[in-house]
């Protein structure tokens, strides 16, 4: 079972259970428009999902029981927002996405990995002495993925750094808990 279908199932359960989830999620405000300015083209949204605490825990528990198949660690998450956009043909590939030009305030760039036209940016928003919120921006020339994660995320930094050291941008992308989307 892929994470995308798992998230879909969790969303169905969450909707039945009455938890408000947003299927029109497009990432943090302003980021989509900022990337569009960088590439000189309009992004086409392929997938968007925002899960609250209940549905995220549900996905976490489902993946935990299926841990043999899925290299995921969602147990530390309390919220997920994922938006996937297709990059249209004719878009101008940016040399690099600069986090300072994405219109994000209060976020710190922690890791920036680039490799053969693919880029993974990991930004963190430390608050109250803990890292409870992170944003991953992935660009590979064909797709843009925005993944906003909430929960206990301290360990994700070490995990992504290790993966980036081993296999560049692809490794960093795989280390994301939502990499299967």
């Amino acid at each position: 079972m892929t994470l995308r279908s798992l998230l879909g199932a969790a969303l169905g359960v969450a909707l039945v259970a009455g938890e408000v989830s947003c299927v029109a999620y497009r990432g943090p405000r302003g980021v989509e428009a900022a990337i569009e300015r960088e590439i000189g083209a309009e992004l086409e949204r392929e997938f968007g999902l925002k899960l609250g605490w209940t549905s995220t825990r549900l996905v976490g528990s489902l993946t935990r029981s299926d841990a043999g198949d899925e290299p995921l660690d969602l147990r530390d998450l309390t919220g997920i927002g994922v938006a996937v956009f297709a990059v249209p043909e004719g878009a101008r590939p940016p040399r690099r996405l600069d986090a300072r030009r994405l219109g994000l305030r209060g976020w710190e760039t922690v890791i920036d990995v680039r490799d053969e036209g693919e880029q993974v940016l990991l930004l963190a928003k430390p608050r109250g002495g803990a890292i409870r919120e992170m944003l991953a921006v992935v660009y590979d020339g064909e797709e843009v993925v925005l993944a906003r994660l909430r929960g206990r995320l301290d360990r994700l930094i070490g995990r992504m750094l290790g993966a980036a050291e081993e296999d560049g941008a692809r490794g960093a992308r795989r280390a994301l808990p939502v990499s299967e989307i």
Binding site: R105, I111, G129, D154, I157, L161, E165
Partner: protein, 193 residues
Amino acid sequence: MRFLLPVILVLPMMVTAPAAAADTEIERLDGFVDGSAFCGLAGEDDEVVEVHLGPSILSALARGAGEDPDIAPVLEGLRSITACVVSLRGDPARAERAERLVRETEVRLERGGWERLARVRDAEERVDVFVRNDERIVRGVTVLVMGRGDGEVVFVNLAGTVDLARIGEIGDTLHVPGLDEMKKGETGPGEGR
């Protein structure tokens, strides 16, 4: 409106001020070295890993190191970890630029009061480790690696209060690239020349 205007003008500054203040705080640290020129060596398709861990991130990581309480005090003393790893993919012109940048950085560090802790030279790479001391406290560590075989250049800087004996643990826990090179330099100053 007259009263609103100052609020409108000041509010954006209040929102952006903490990040800017953190950057300024890092740049003022004795042990901080700006390594952005190393990241600038990268071409369009080169593999680049940039790492920026500032005071708030490091303190959050220290608090989150509950499973490994030994690493918490090591992280707490640090105010900044920056790293830049660029794979030059065997481009001789940029490899030459990288070599020049490494040499210029070495000179800059030595003139700036940094002490060379280790120098390792072999067929594969050259590694230089510099420390900045303040009395008996290490305030900064800079590692420069120039790979000859894989054409990779590594810059790492740690600023704050650095426990040299535990620096390998930071590399193991956070996987900061280049810190494993410190282990090669444990033979002592000047060895391996």
